[in-house]
Amino acid sequence: MFMTRGRLAALALALLASPIAAQDGPDGLAVGRQMLAEDNPGELWVARGQRLFFEKRGPKKASLESCDLGLGPGKVEGAFAQLPRYFADTDKVQDLESRLMTCMVTLQGFTTEDILRNRFGTLDNDSDMEALVSFIGSKSNGMKMNVPLRHAKEAEAYKAGEYLFHRRSGPLDFSCATCHADQGRRIRLQELPNMTDSKQVQTVVATGWPAYRGTQATVRTMQHRLYDCNWQMRLPDLGYASDMSIALTSYLNHRGNGGVVQLPGVRR
Protein backbone atom coordinates (compact mmCIF):
# COMPACT_ATOMS: atom_id res chain seq x y z
CA MET A 1 0.00 0.00 0.00
CA PHE A 2 1.08 3.58 -0.51
CA MET A 3 2.39 5.34 2.55
CA THR A 4 0.33 8.11 4.01
CA ARG A 5 1.83 11.60 4.15
CA GLY A 6 1.89 11.36 7.94
CA ARG A 7 3.98 8.24 7.91
CA LEU A 8 6.33 9.68 5.33
CA ALA A 9 6.80 12.80 7.42
CA ALA A 10 7.36 10.68 10.51
CA LEU A 11 9.95 8.68 8.64
CA ALA A 12 11.71 11.85 7.42
CA LEU A 13 11.83 13.08 10.99
CA ALA A 14 13.19 9.78 12.21
CA LEU A 15 15.90 9.95 9.57
CA LEU A 16 16.82 13.49 10.58
CA ALA A 17 16.85 12.59 14.24
CA SER A 18 19.13 9.60 13.88
CA PRO A 19 21.41 9.77 10.85
CA ILE A 20 23.59 7.04 12.31
CA ALA A 21 20.71 4.64 12.72
CA ALA A 22 19.71 5.27 9.12
CA GLN A 23 23.19 4.33 8.01
CA ASP A 24 23.47 1.23 10.16
CA GLY A 25 19.97 -0.17 10.27
CA PRO A 26 17.44 -1.04 7.64
CA ASP A 27 15.08 1.85 8.62
CA GLY A 28 15.30 3.90 5.43
CA LEU A 29 15.93 0.96 3.16
CA ALA A 30 12.96 -0.88 4.66
CA VAL A 31 10.60 1.46 2.80
CA GLY A 32 12.11 0.62 -0.56
CA ARG A 33 12.25 -3.08 0.27
CA GLN A 34 8.58 -3.00 1.24
CA MET A 35 7.63 -1.42 -2.08
CA LEU A 36 9.70 -3.98 -3.97
CA ALA A 37 8.17 -6.85 -2.04
CA GLU A 38 4.63 -5.72 -2.85
CA ASP A 39 5.27 -5.86 -6.57
CA ASN A 40 8.05 -8.39 -6.65
CA PRO A 41 9.13 -9.19 -10.22
CA GLY A 42 9.73 -12.70 -8.86
CA GLU A 43 5.97 -13.18 -9.31
CA LEU A 44 6.64 -13.34 -13.05
CA TRP A 45 8.93 -16.32 -12.40
CA VAL A 46 6.22 -17.92 -10.27
CA ALA A 47 3.77 -17.63 -13.18
CA ARG A 48 6.27 -19.07 -15.63
CA GLY A 49 7.20 -21.85 -13.21
CA GLN A 50 3.56 -22.81 -12.83
CA ARG A 51 3.19 -23.03 -16.59
CA LEU A 52 6.38 -25.12 -16.91
CA PHE A 53 5.31 -27.46 -14.10
CA PHE A 54 2.07 -28.47 -15.84
CA GLU A 55 3.37 -28.35 -19.40
CA LYS A 56 4.25 -31.60 -21.18
CA ARG A 57 7.96 -31.14 -21.82
CA GLY A 58 11.18 -33.00 -22.54
CA PRO A 59 11.89 -36.05 -24.72
CA LYS A 60 9.24 -38.04 -22.83
CA LYS A 61 6.60 -35.31 -23.28
CA ALA A 62 5.58 -35.45 -19.64
CA SER A 63 4.62 -32.85 -17.09
CA LEU A 64 5.97 -32.74 -13.54
CA GLU A 65 2.52 -33.50 -12.12
CA SER A 66 3.62 -36.92 -10.88
CA CYS A 67 6.84 -35.61 -9.34
CA ASP A 68 7.07 -36.58 -5.68
CA LEU A 69 8.58 -33.72 -3.72
CA GLY A 70 8.21 -35.55 -0.44
CA LEU A 71 4.49 -35.19 0.21
CA GLY A 72 3.27 -37.51 -2.54
CA PRO A 73 3.18 -37.30 -6.36
CA GLY A 74 2.28 -33.86 -7.65
CA LYS A 75 1.75 -32.33 -4.23
CA VAL A 76 3.53 -28.99 -4.25
CA GLU A 77 1.65 -27.28 -1.42
CA GLY A 78 3.95 -27.23 1.58
CA ALA A 79 6.70 -29.19 -0.18
CA PHE A 80 9.30 -26.45 0.14
CA ALA A 81 8.71 -26.13 3.90
CA GLN A 82 9.77 -29.76 4.38
CA LEU A 83 12.88 -29.94 2.24
CA PRO A 84 15.62 -31.18 2.20
CA ARG A 85 14.50 -34.67 3.21
CA TYR A 86 15.35 -38.30 2.58
CA PHE A 87 13.90 -39.96 -0.54
CA ALA A 88 13.78 -43.74 -0.64
CA ASP A 89 13.79 -44.03 -4.46
CA THR A 90 17.14 -42.27 -4.82
CA ASP A 91 18.36 -43.31 -1.33
CA LYS A 92 19.55 -39.75 -0.81
CA VAL A 93 18.75 -36.60 1.07
CA GLN A 94 17.63 -34.11 -1.57
CA ASP A 95 16.83 -30.43 -1.58
CA LEU A 96 14.18 -28.93 -3.86
CA GLU A 97 16.55 -28.39 -6.75
CA SER A 98 18.20 -31.81 -6.72
CA ARG A 99 14.76 -33.41 -6.37
CA LEU A 100 13.45 -31.45 -9.34
CA MET A 101 16.49 -32.60 -11.27
CA THR A 102 15.63 -36.23 -10.46
CA CYS A 103 12.06 -35.68 -11.66
CA MET A 104 13.12 -33.87 -14.83
CA VAL A 105 15.50 -36.73 -15.68
CA THR A 106 13.27 -39.69 -14.78
CA LEU A 107 9.85 -38.33 -15.77
CA GLN A 108 10.64 -35.91 -18.59
CA GLY A 109 13.80 -37.51 -19.99
CA PHE A 110 16.01 -34.43 -19.81
CA THR A 111 19.72 -35.11 -19.43
CA THR A 112 21.58 -33.94 -16.34
CA GLU A 113 23.92 -31.96 -18.62
CA ASP A 114 20.99 -30.03 -20.13
CA ILE A 115 19.69 -29.10 -16.69
CA LEU A 116 23.11 -28.12 -15.38
CA ARG A 117 23.82 -25.94 -18.41
CA ASN A 118 20.63 -24.02 -17.69
CA ARG A 119 20.78 -24.08 -13.90
CA PHE A 120 21.47 -20.37 -13.49
CA GLY A 121 19.66 -17.97 -15.82
CA THR A 122 21.55 -15.28 -17.74
CA LEU A 123 20.36 -12.15 -19.52
CA ASP A 124 20.28 -14.23 -22.72
CA ASN A 125 18.69 -17.40 -21.37
CA ASP A 126 16.04 -17.88 -18.71
CA SER A 127 16.52 -20.83 -16.40
CA ASP A 128 13.61 -23.27 -16.12
CA MET A 129 14.94 -24.35 -12.73
CA GLU A 130 14.76 -20.84 -11.30
CA ALA A 131 11.15 -20.53 -12.47
CA LEU A 132 10.10 -23.94 -11.10
CA VAL A 133 11.74 -23.28 -7.73
CA SER A 134 9.96 -19.91 -7.51
CA PHE A 135 6.61 -21.56 -8.20
CA ILE A 136 7.08 -24.43 -5.76
CA GLY A 137 8.54 -22.15 -3.08
CA SER A 138 5.52 -19.83 -3.32
CA LYS A 139 3.22 -22.83 -2.77
CA SER A 140 4.43 -23.03 0.85
CA ASN A 141 3.62 -19.41 1.60
CA GLY A 142 2.09 -18.94 5.03
CA MET A 143 3.31 -22.34 6.22
CA LYS A 144 5.99 -22.94 8.81
CA MET A 145 9.33 -24.48 7.93
CA ASN A 146 9.22 -28.05 9.21
CA VAL A 147 12.24 -29.91 7.88
CA PRO A 148 12.35 -33.50 9.17
CA LEU A 149 15.34 -35.01 10.94
CA ARG A 150 14.08 -38.56 11.36
CA HIS A 151 16.02 -40.68 8.90
CA ALA A 152 19.65 -41.55 9.64
CA LYS A 153 20.75 -39.93 6.37
CA GLU A 154 18.93 -36.71 7.27
CA ALA A 155 20.80 -36.59 10.57
CA GLU A 156 24.03 -37.33 8.71
CA ALA A 157 23.45 -34.46 6.26
CA TYR A 158 22.62 -32.11 9.13
CA LYS A 159 25.82 -33.01 10.98
CA ALA A 160 27.91 -32.66 7.84
CA GLY A 161 26.31 -29.29 7.18
CA GLU A 162 27.05 -28.11 10.69
CA TYR A 163 30.66 -29.18 10.30
CA LEU A 164 31.00 -27.49 6.89
CA PHE A 165 29.42 -24.30 8.19
CA HIS A 166 32.17 -23.94 10.79
CA ARG A 167 35.07 -25.50 8.85
CA ARG A 168 37.63 -22.90 7.77
CA SER A 169 39.34 -23.63 4.47
CA GLY A 170 40.64 -22.20 1.21
CA PRO A 171 43.25 -19.51 0.52
CA LEU A 172 41.40 -16.95 2.69
CA ASP A 173 40.87 -19.43 5.52
CA PHE A 174 37.18 -18.54 5.63
CA SER A 175 34.25 -20.54 6.88
CA CYS A 176 30.56 -19.67 6.53
CA ALA A 177 30.73 -18.74 10.20
CA THR A 178 33.40 -16.12 9.54
CA CYS A 179 30.69 -13.88 8.09
CA HIS A 180 27.51 -15.47 9.38
CA ALA A 181 28.02 -16.09 13.09
CA ASP A 182 28.22 -12.54 14.36
CA GLN A 183 25.78 -9.74 14.96
CA GLY A 184 25.81 -6.66 12.72
CA ARG A 185 28.35 -7.81 10.12
CA ARG A 186 28.13 -6.65 6.55
CA ILE A 187 29.92 -6.73 3.23
CA ARG A 188 29.92 -3.13 2.03
CA LEU A 189 26.26 -2.20 2.57
CA GLN A 190 24.86 -5.71 2.54
CA GLU A 191 23.91 -6.82 6.00
CA LEU A 192 24.93 -10.38 6.70
CA PRO A 193 22.44 -12.52 8.58
CA ASN A 194 23.73 -14.17 11.71
CA MET A 195 22.93 -17.84 11.13
CA THR A 196 23.61 -18.78 14.74
CA ASP A 197 20.68 -16.59 15.81
CA SER A 198 17.50 -18.65 15.59
CA LYS A 199 15.25 -15.72 14.60
CA GLN A 200 17.57 -14.61 11.80
CA VAL A 201 18.11 -18.08 10.41
CA GLN A 202 14.33 -18.60 10.38
CA THR A 203 13.84 -15.40 8.40
CA VAL A 204 16.56 -16.22 5.90
CA VAL A 205 15.45 -19.79 5.35
CA ALA A 206 11.71 -19.03 5.11
CA THR A 207 11.78 -15.75 3.17
CA GLY A 208 15.28 -15.61 1.69
CA TRP A 209 15.70 -17.86 -1.33
CA PRO A 210 14.50 -18.16 -4.08
CA ALA A 211 14.64 -14.38 -4.45
CA TYR A 212 14.49 -11.91 -7.29
CA ARG A 213 17.90 -10.25 -7.54
CA GLY A 214 17.58 -6.70 -8.83
CA THR A 215 21.21 -6.55 -9.89
CA GLN A 216 20.95 -9.78 -11.85
CA ALA A 217 17.46 -9.29 -13.25
CA THR A 218 16.49 -12.86 -12.42
CA VAL A 219 15.42 -15.08 -9.56
CA ARG A 220 18.30 -16.81 -7.80
CA THR A 221 17.97 -19.97 -5.75
CA MET A 222 19.57 -21.31 -2.56
CA GLN A 223 21.96 -23.39 -4.68
CA HIS A 224 23.12 -20.20 -6.36
CA ARG A 225 23.51 -18.44 -3.01
CA LEU A 226 25.74 -21.21 -1.70
CA TYR A 227 27.67 -21.38 -4.97
CA ASP A 228 28.29 -17.64 -4.81
CA CYS A 229 29.26 -17.73 -1.10
CA ASN A 230 31.76 -20.45 -1.97
CA TRP A 231 33.16 -18.34 -4.76
CA GLN A 232 33.42 -15.35 -2.45
CA MET A 233 35.47 -17.50 -0.07
CA ARG A 234 37.68 -18.42 -3.07
CA LEU A 235 36.87 -22.11 -2.66
CA PRO A 236 36.62 -24.43 -5.68
CA ASP A 237 33.24 -24.18 -7.46
CA LEU A 238 30.49 -25.74 -5.42
CA GLY A 239 28.88 -28.47 -7.52
CA TYR A 240 25.20 -27.89 -8.28
CA ALA A 241 23.09 -30.18 -6.12
CA SER A 242 26.32 -31.61 -4.67
CA ASP A 243 26.35 -33.44 -1.35
CA MET A 244 28.08 -30.44 0.20
CA SER A 245 25.41 -27.99 -0.95
CA ILE A 246 22.62 -30.27 0.28
CA ALA A 247 24.34 -30.82 3.64
CA LEU A 248 24.59 -27.05 4.18
CA THR A 249 20.96 -26.56 3.10
CA SER A 250 19.86 -29.39 5.44
CA TYR A 251 21.65 -27.79 8.35
CA LEU A 252 20.37 -24.27 7.69
CA ASN A 253 16.80 -25.21 6.75
CA HIS A 254 16.38 -27.46 9.76
CA ARG A 255 17.65 -24.68 12.00
CA GLY A 256 15.12 -22.40 10.30
CA ASN A 257 12.20 -24.60 11.41
CA GLY A 258 9.31 -22.47 12.63
CA GLY A 259 9.96 -19.60 10.21
CA VAL A 260 6.87 -18.65 8.19
CA VAL A 261 7.47 -19.04 4.45
CA GLN A 262 6.97 -16.04 2.16
CA LEU A 263 8.54 -16.56 -1.24
CA PRO A 264 9.95 -15.51 -3.60
CA GLY A 265 11.99 -12.93 -1.76
CA VAL A 266 13.50 -9.85 -3.29
CA ARG A 267 17.11 -8.84 -2.93
CA ARG A 268 19.57 -6.30 -4.18
Partner: protein, 106 residues
Amino acid sequence: MAEPMRIRAALQGDVADVRILMRHPMETGQRKDAKGDIVPTHFIQNVVVTHNGRTVLDAQWSQAVSRDPFLGLRVKGAKAGDTIVVTWTDNKGDKRTDEATVAAAS
Protein backbone atom coordinates in the same frame (compact mmCIF):
# COMPACT_ATOMS: atom_id res chain seq x y z
CA MET B 1 5.74 -15.59 -27.22
CA ALA B 2 5.56 -12.88 -24.60
CA GLU B 3 4.95 -13.91 -21.03
CA PRO B 4 1.75 -12.70 -19.30
CA MET B 5 1.73 -9.51 -17.26
CA ARG B 6 0.77 -9.42 -13.63
CA ILE B 7 -1.83 -6.73 -12.97
CA ARG B 8 -3.25 -5.72 -9.61
CA ALA B 9 -6.02 -3.15 -9.33
CA ALA B 10 -7.50 -2.25 -5.95
CA LEU B 11 -9.91 0.48 -5.03
CA GLN B 12 -8.93 3.27 -2.63
CA GLY B 13 -11.97 5.54 -2.30
CA ASP B 14 -13.00 6.25 -5.91
CA VAL B 15 -9.46 5.82 -7.18
CA ALA B 16 -8.16 2.50 -8.47
CA ASP B 17 -4.54 1.82 -7.61
CA VAL B 18 -3.24 -0.14 -10.62
CA ARG B 19 0.12 -1.93 -10.50
CA ILE B 20 1.50 -3.71 -13.53
CA LEU B 21 4.53 -5.97 -13.80
CA MET B 22 5.67 -6.83 -17.31
CA ARG B 23 8.13 -9.44 -18.50
CA HIS B 24 10.34 -7.98 -21.19
CA PRO B 25 14.11 -8.00 -21.88
CA MET B 26 14.16 -4.24 -22.69
CA GLU B 27 17.47 -4.50 -24.54
CA THR B 28 19.22 -1.16 -24.97
CA GLY B 29 21.28 -2.25 -27.95
CA GLN B 30 24.49 -1.69 -26.02
CA ARG B 31 24.89 -5.04 -24.29
CA LYS B 32 26.99 -7.85 -25.72
CA ASP B 33 26.03 -11.49 -25.35
CA ALA B 34 28.33 -14.33 -24.23
CA LYS B 35 29.79 -14.58 -27.76
CA GLY B 36 30.62 -10.87 -27.85
CA ASP B 37 27.93 -9.95 -30.37
CA ILE B 38 25.81 -6.88 -29.74
CA VAL B 39 22.29 -7.75 -28.64
CA PRO B 40 19.92 -5.77 -30.87
CA THR B 41 17.65 -3.13 -29.39
CA HIS B 42 14.42 -4.68 -28.17
CA PHE B 43 12.10 -2.62 -26.02
CA ILE B 44 8.47 -1.82 -25.33
CA GLN B 45 7.53 1.19 -27.42
CA ASN B 46 3.93 1.76 -26.54
CA VAL B 47 1.80 1.02 -23.50
CA VAL B 48 -1.95 1.60 -23.48
CA VAL B 49 -4.11 1.24 -20.37
CA THR B 50 -7.89 1.37 -20.69
CA HIS B 51 -10.55 1.58 -18.01
CA ASN B 52 -13.86 0.09 -19.20
CA GLY B 53 -12.71 0.71 -22.77
CA ARG B 54 -11.70 4.35 -22.23
CA THR B 55 -7.99 5.04 -22.67
CA VAL B 56 -6.54 6.39 -19.43
CA LEU B 57 -2.87 6.10 -20.30
CA ASP B 58 -1.06 6.02 -23.64
CA ALA B 59 2.68 6.03 -23.09
CA GLN B 60 5.65 5.97 -25.43
CA TRP B 61 8.59 4.23 -23.86
CA SER B 62 12.22 4.01 -24.83
CA GLN B 63 15.07 1.62 -24.08
CA ALA B 64 15.75 3.71 -20.97
CA VAL B 65 13.07 1.77 -19.09
CA SER B 66 14.46 -1.16 -17.12
CA ARG B 67 14.20 -4.87 -17.81
CA ASP B 68 10.93 -6.43 -16.51
CA PRO B 69 9.28 -3.03 -16.09
CA PHE B 70 6.91 -2.01 -13.35
CA LEU B 71 4.19 0.55 -14.03
CA GLY B 72 1.90 2.05 -11.42
CA LEU B 73 -1.00 4.43 -12.03
CA ARG B 74 -4.11 5.67 -10.29
CA VAL B 75 -7.40 5.74 -12.15
CA LYS B 76 -10.03 8.19 -10.94
CA GLY B 77 -13.72 7.36 -10.90
CA ALA B 78 -13.24 3.60 -10.86
CA LYS B 79 -15.67 1.16 -9.25
CA ALA B 80 -15.22 -2.39 -8.04
CA GLY B 81 -15.66 -4.82 -10.90
CA ASP B 82 -14.44 -2.40 -13.57
CA THR B 83 -12.12 -3.76 -16.22
CA ILE B 84 -8.56 -2.56 -16.68
CA VAL B 85 -6.89 -3.65 -19.90
CA VAL B 86 -3.17 -3.20 -20.53
CA THR B 87 -1.52 -3.62 -23.93
CA TRP B 88 2.11 -3.19 -24.78
CA THR B 89 3.73 -3.24 -28.20
CA ASP B 90 7.47 -3.51 -28.68
CA ASN B 91 9.77 -2.37 -31.46
CA LYS B 92 9.72 -5.82 -33.06
CA GLY B 93 5.94 -5.69 -33.31
CA ASP B 94 5.43 -8.20 -30.53
CA LYS B 95 2.30 -7.51 -28.49
CA ARG B 96 0.76 -8.56 -25.26
CA THR B 97 -2.66 -7.75 -23.78
CA ASP B 98 -3.83 -8.68 -20.32
CA GLU B 99 -6.74 -7.56 -18.22
CA ALA B 100 -7.70 -7.33 -14.57
CA THR B 101 -10.82 -6.54 -12.60
CA VAL B 102 -10.78 -3.73 -10.06
CA ALA B 103 -11.03 -5.27 -6.60
CA ALA B 104 -13.02 -3.66 -3.80
CA ALA B 105 -11.12 -1.73 -1.15
CA SER B 106 -9.54 -4.07 1.37
